[in-house]
Assembly symmetry: C2
Homo-oligomer: 161 residues x 2
DNA sequence: GCTCCAACGAAACAAACTTGCAAAAGTACC
DNA sequence: GGTACTTTTGCAAGTTTGTTTCGTTGGAGC
């Protein structure tokens, strides 16, 4: 079977490995090997390949926001006035640069951007709105949703075909 | 200085370590030690402690959804009819159980739930809406936003005080 | 049937993590 | 200010894990 660099086809082994890694990437390769039916070196080579191909984008620790004093999660829909390419790019980079903004999506529909924001207190969110929304005359309006419960949080994607 | 289990005070060392780990948790402890000014064992003990305290909730690999054939990210606001504790809990567990639902927040404001969904194609989303929304008579209405660009995606939280 | 290529596993090797222990640093209490 | 106690540290040894080497196997194409 061919698996060239330019066509990152993932076989059943790869997908099983990914399923384990996206749940716990500190799992020893030996353990992964036993689980999927490969030797540790085979697992290691596949992980390395997938990291190079970009299938595995990062290996990160997930922290508890509350433990770091960032106990408020807020959800914002932003609608802009002018949607020229230049202004959209400007907004994107502005949102991407803010450390409080955990996630930012450019979307279709009634809004143009959707943001997930994490801050220590409402006062910090208020300050952020002044800086980001009221201070930007291309923002038409925005709607705020405060999270009472982070029911499910993660970046896991289904790996089965 | 006391740092009992019940009061997880994080000092400057801890925060620096966390900042590194939430960017790349495959960084060797020796390297982290050099960066923060501690020996490798000291770093290891702090990491272990923070994992036990729950400050570090998980260690995961971040995968590229597109590489797994999950190329569409969708954002949904859900409004329910009845907001009794029982029905809210029911909705939470139903959303949490769906593998396509990557994130789910229970929020205040014009909507009750906000969902981040990842699917291979629009047809899959349509099927999901039928199952989850139209098939649930407590869902009053829902609004869909399709992501054109995942500008910023992650779970990073600011670690500075 | 032969060659070439890709991926594999076993074993050797290297690197990283983990633990025991004694010393240093910080606190509380005289 | 001094002493006892507690906590955390660094070093070094020991263990686990990750990585490379190398010979083998199974297919695809000729």
């Amino acid at each position: 079977m061919s698996r060239s660099v330019k066509s990152p086809q993932l076989d059943a082994f790869d997908r099983k490995i990914l399923a384990i890694l996206q749940r716990d990437n500190s799992t020893p390769q030996r353990t992964i090997g036993d689980a999927v039916g490969l030797s540790a070196p085979a697992v290691q080579r596949r992980i390395k390949r997938m990291a190079e191909e970009g299938v595995i984008q990062a290996n990160v620790a997930v922290l508890d926001p509350a433990a770091l004093g960032q106990s408020i999660t807020i959800f914002v829909e932003v609608e802009v006035i002018s949607e020229t390419a230049k202004q959209i790019e400007e907004a994107k980079s502005q949102f991407a640069a803010a450390p409080e903004i955990q996630q930012c999506y450019y979307v279709t529909g009634e809004a143009d951007f959707v943001l997930v924001i994490v801050v220590p207190a409402m006062a910090d969110y208020e300050a952020l709105t002044r800086r980001l929304f009221f201070g930007n005359n291309n923002v038409k309006r925005f709607r705020t949703f405060v999270a009472m419960d982070r029911v499910k949080v993660g970046l896991s994607v289904p790996v089965e075909r």
